[in-house]
Symmetry: C2
Subunit: 253 residues, 2 copies
Amino acid sequence: MFQACKDSTSRPTLQAMSRRRLLLLSNSTNYGEEYLRFPLSYIRNFLGESVKRVLFIPFAGVRMTYDDYAARVRERFDEIGYALDSIHEASDPLRALEEAEALAVGGGNTFHLLRGLYEANLLEAIRARVLKGMPYIGWSAGSNVACPTIKTTNDMPVVEPPSFNALALVPFQINPHYTDATVPNHNGETRAERLLEFIEANAEMTVVGLKEGSALRIEGSEIKLLGDKSLLVFRKGQEIAEYNPQDSLQFLL
Amino acid sequence: MFQACKDSTSRPTLQAMSRRRLLLLSNSTNYGEEYLRFPLSYIRNFLGESVKRVLFIPFAGVRMTYDDYAARVRERFDEIGYALDSIHEASDPLRALEEAEALAVGGGNTFHLLRGLYEANLLEAIRARVLKGMPYIGWSAGSNVACPTIKTTNDMPVVEPPSFNALALVPFQINPHYTDATVPNHNGETRAERLLEFIEANAEMTVVGLKEGSALRIEGSEIKLLGDKSLLVFRKGQEIAEYNPQDSLQFLL
């Protein structure tokens, strides 16, 4: 029933990745703003004028129907001139993917999203198309699954995917919605503590804490932080490092 | 290498469970208090005078050594008159479990804990001993693994256990550290939203949101909420329900 995503934790070579184009957003919606509002200029700039239609993957949605989710996203993509097809409407999802001009993978629950990708047998196909240059846009869970695994998600494991291995379109882990803030008078771990646990258990990995309102834009071997916030980099045996949008992030690739 | 925990998601019969004794704490430490301070009176009352030694499972610890973790817990158990052995010190963990008078499963990372239980082949053995009356104390992750699955943990999935199925010593799910509070000016899901996602994806399950400072004490078919806070019950198609320590919770079993 499930397809295993082979080698997804192995570090892809830069040469194999020379055609990848990724826009990985921390979140869909900034606090107090309209749904999927701030990413629109990034998306427009990333997709440009040659793309006309975008294929959407709604599998991270749990408490809304895929129809409702796709409608919500379609409204926004319409505003910036892109038609949107949702893969759940396709009679042949793999063929829809083969023919897609660009892919958008929405947020929600990362475990639900990854299980959906395995059930629909889409992981290898997405990876193959991205390696050949199909633009990939993800936000929140959609950015998490672009990483080698989903082990740095903030989501509750409400369903069990056959594996935590994901698309491995980048060699590092993203923690979306990164924040230093904590719930007042409460004793749960901070986000940094959780990521240091990850680093402890996965010593070879690098984690990027990506704050809300931020995105990473990756073109082949180039990478740039979008937005006006810093990002944090967690590596075993090193201090947590902070980088600003003008800093070079090439070391991540 | 791994042992599967068979039938762990099936609802145990009350008859098979008539000898179980469980103390399931939301957390080890209340905000601003000393480590493992508030649970001590509950633990003392639960274990009573016949128990002399407690076996500790430190597998939820990630960023401290098991030695350090056991030493920290041992200090507290000493205060209330119980010697503590840690299973990681045992030359034969299964035999240590067979001979244990009582078990304490500490908090930390739930995924790390469950993976450790699978790797040490302990799930069926713990379950068998609890069904025969060995007292089980858990806090945070240690309460999560007493449930049918770990799908209601708050922890980051920093390592991948072979399954989300856990001990199923109770037929419902606990969400430890339950809180209605959120991080200010931040757009992550609330705890209630996360649990409603779980209910949406697991319609047959009941979830108990257990606030910090609270515990559930279960003796056979009796269950009682300890502490001075309410708990919340999440069930598909029903309003979130609130119960106080004097209320009957028998419906949970």
